[in-house]
């Protein structure tokens, strides 16, 4: 008998009588100003949220903070030719990316997370390997809790998707919080007011 058969047989024999799968009951009260709640939540976990009216404001903001001499990778067509998106043959060539700019799907107000799937990443390694990460979402695309977030994700297909909530961090050394453990040292989320 294969290991698979042995495990399955033992599980079948030993599992108790089937208990039902109940519907999810969530009693979180509806929050009113989700954008403000999101901004606060992201701030609490070491990220920065910036409200913008137009696309033009984004490169201006970034240019103030990140040297144009460093390597930026922009995956948002609306931002034009702010930088050239590389051909991603090999993710290792992304090692020296200072700033990557990606479009997220939506934010989650209760925890400051942004949901993004791989077709918006250029390369799956990009949001993790860059030194600084900038994400853009629309300020209307914010859900109160993860329940609503997963309702929205539904059965949508993706190969890889991730919630990113703030910069990469660790507190492994005596509980001292350090931003930039292995991945981005900062996370900026632009909240666009206009479509």
């Amino acid at each position: 008998m294969s290991s698979r058969e042995r495990i399955l047989e033992a599980v079948k024999k030993n599992q108790p009588n089937g208990l039902p799968l109940l519907p999810i009951a969530s009693a979180s009260p509806a929050a009113t100003d989700l954008a403000q709640k999101f901004i606060r939540a992201l701030g609490n976990i070491g990220g920065t949220a910036i409200e913008v009216e137009s696309w033009d404001e984004i490169p201006l903001y970034l240019a103030d903070r990140f040297s144009a001499k460093t390597r930026w990778v922009n995956m948002i067509p609306e931002l034009g030719n702010m930088s050239t998106a590389d051909a991603f043959e090999d993710p290792h060539v992304l090692e020296n990316v200072t700033l990557s700019i990606l479009k997220g799907h939506f934010g989650v107000a209760e925890n400051g997370a942004v949901w993004i799937t791989d077709e918006r990443m250029g390369d799956r390694a990009l949001p993790f390997i860059c030194e600084h990460l900038a994400l853009v979402i629309h300020s209307d695309d914010i859900f109160n809790t993860l329940h609503e977030a997963y309702e929205h994700i539904g059965a949508s297909p993706y190969s890889f998707g991730t919630f990113i909530a703030g910069p990469s961090k660790t507190a492994d050394i005596e509980q001292s919080l350090v931003l930039g453990a292995h991945g981005p040292k900062s996370m900026t989320v632009f909240l666009q007011r206009k479509r």
Partner: protein, 467 residues
């Protein structure tokens, strides 16, 4: 240095009480350890209080896990089918050894000598690192805390905070020896940066990455891995091969259930609203190979037990450790098992009752663990039930057995009980040295209470019956 003793601790076969004694030799350090963990427990409380439906979330999570455990056979089949459809190779391992062999064979087939691994308690349980090292394969643990204990030649002492027992000065010294950082520098920011540079090289050069699994969704065949550091993602996204190792109990039915578990996990663990990264791996990246190893290692047997099955609901948040008065004052290594604290104390005896017979006694049965558990495992009840099983199976010391038997005899004979009480009170009053000595474990580090003047029965007769 405490770090040297902890290394020794792990290799000796002393029981929990003996190792806890050693840990307590350095009193200021124990106080520091205790306070650090309590600080995290308080952060958890604060985070939980901010979620209005917290208790309902715990109840939902518990019910979902009950449903999973009672339908695990069909969920495993569903998960396997969907994962395979997604292009993932699924392996099954009955034992820890088989798990290690499967992982090794994949690595060997690619001719790889060094791999990166993010945190996985399952691989700790299976002693994967040691196994691979014996086959000439080096595993680089990439979680900062895990890398620290790995460089020191120790196992993690906490499932979420692997080096919670280390002081920054000691880490500075360790890094100076292994990573060449300047001596005497123990600034956490500086040391973390040094580790970042050191581990970045390994991320870039490793062709194979091993990760654990926080949740595996039967409905979609995807797995979810949560980290704060981003080490799982960096490892996987830069590697040609991804091996994810999971216990068979990690399955959840549907994607939408992640909403429940991800809301609970980080809040319970560290008081964060969510981990920085909650990555959903559904299909391997183009050109990448992805393997999932489903491991039983005693879990299917545990399913049969009405008393102990619930321990399989654990989502490895560590809340029960942070709150446990015994764990906080005895340290993770005193448990001699990959998973320490209350949950470890009910999981370990299920794997090897004789070897871990001391662990269910490493508890005050205060119940704090059960109260913070996000999936409502009846941890303290199980600790109590394990004690009964262990006694029945002859896995407790002779003195404890004789003492218990003697006490049971006295308690079942009221006349004898009342006389014994009188003798006891007289002795405590007139010959205190008989009880206040080092052979009485209850006298250790505490004063015995004042001797009551009379028995409770007598007091009750005088004060209550007459009224």
């Amino acid at each position: 240095m405490a770090t040297d003793t902890t290394i020794m601790n792990h290799t000796t076969t002393s029981d929990h009480a003996t190792l806890a004694d050693k840990f307590n030799l350095d009193e200021p350090r124990v106080d520091w350890h205790d306070k650090t963990l309590w600080f995290i427990r308080k952060k958890r409380d604060k985070a939980a209080a901010q979620v209005p439906d917290w208790e309902q979330l715990r109840e939902s999570a518990s019910q979902i896990k009950n449903n999973v455990l009672s339908n695990l056979h069909s969920y495993l089949l569903e998960f396997e089918k969907n994962a395979q459809k997604n292009g993932i190779t699924v392996h099954w391992a009955v034992t820890a050894k088989e798990h290690n062999q499967i992982v090794h064979s994949i690595i060997q087939e690619k001719g790889i000598a060094q791999v990166v691994k993010s945190k996985s308690m399952l691989t700790e349980e299976c002693h994967l690192n040691e196994y691979l090292l014996a086959q000439g394969i080096e595993v680089i643990d990439t979680d900062l805390g895990e890398r620290i204990v790995q460089l020191a030649g120790e196992p993690p002492s906490h499932i979420v905070l692997p080096c919670i027992h280390w002081k920054k000065e000691e880490i500075g010294e360790l890094f100076s020896r292994h990573l060449g950082t300047p001596e005497g520098n123990s600034d956490p920011q500086f040391l973390t940066t040094a580790a970042r540079i050191h581990l970045r090289q390994h991320f870039l050069s490793s062709r194979l990455a091993i990760t654990g699994v926080n949740f595996a969704v039967a409905e979609t065949g995807e797995i979810v891995v949560c980290t704060n550091e981003g080490n799982a993602d960096l490892g996987v996204q830069l590697a040609d091969v991804h091996i994810a190792c999971m216990g068979i109990e990690k399955i959840i039915p549907q994607r939408k259930h992640l909403g429940i578990f991800l809301r609970l996990l980080a809040r319970s663990a560290t008081g964060q609203p969510i981990t920085t990264y909650s990555s959903h791996f559904q299909r391997p990246r183009k050109g990448q190979e992805m393997h999932i190893v489903l491991v039983d290692n005693g879990r299917s047997e545990r399913l049969a037990s009405n008393d102990f099955r619930n321990a399989l609901k654990c989502i490895r948040c560590g809340a029960c450790m942070n709150t446990c008065p015994v764990y906080r004052r005895s340290g993770g290594h005193s448990y001699r098992y990959a998973i320490a604290g209350p949950i470890g104390a009910i999981l370990a005896p299920g794997l090897d009752m004789e070897k871990h017979a001391d662990l269910p006694f490493a508890s005050t049965l205060c119940g704090s663990c059960s109260h913070v558990c996000p999936v409502k495992i009846d941890i303290h009840d199980q600790l109590y039930k394990w004690r009964q099983v262990l006694v029945k199976n002859g896995h407790v010391s002779g003195t404890k057995k004789v003492g218990m038997k003697g006490l049971a005899f006295i308690l079942s004979h009221p006349g004898l009980y009342s006389r014994a009480g009188a003798v006891g009170r007289w002795l405590m009053k007139h010959v205190p040295g008989l009880i206040n000595n080092k052979f009485n474990p209850w006298y250790k580090q505490r004063e015995m209470p004042d001797v009551p003047k009379q028995s409770f029965t007598k007091w009750y007769q005088q004060n209550r019956i007459s009224k």
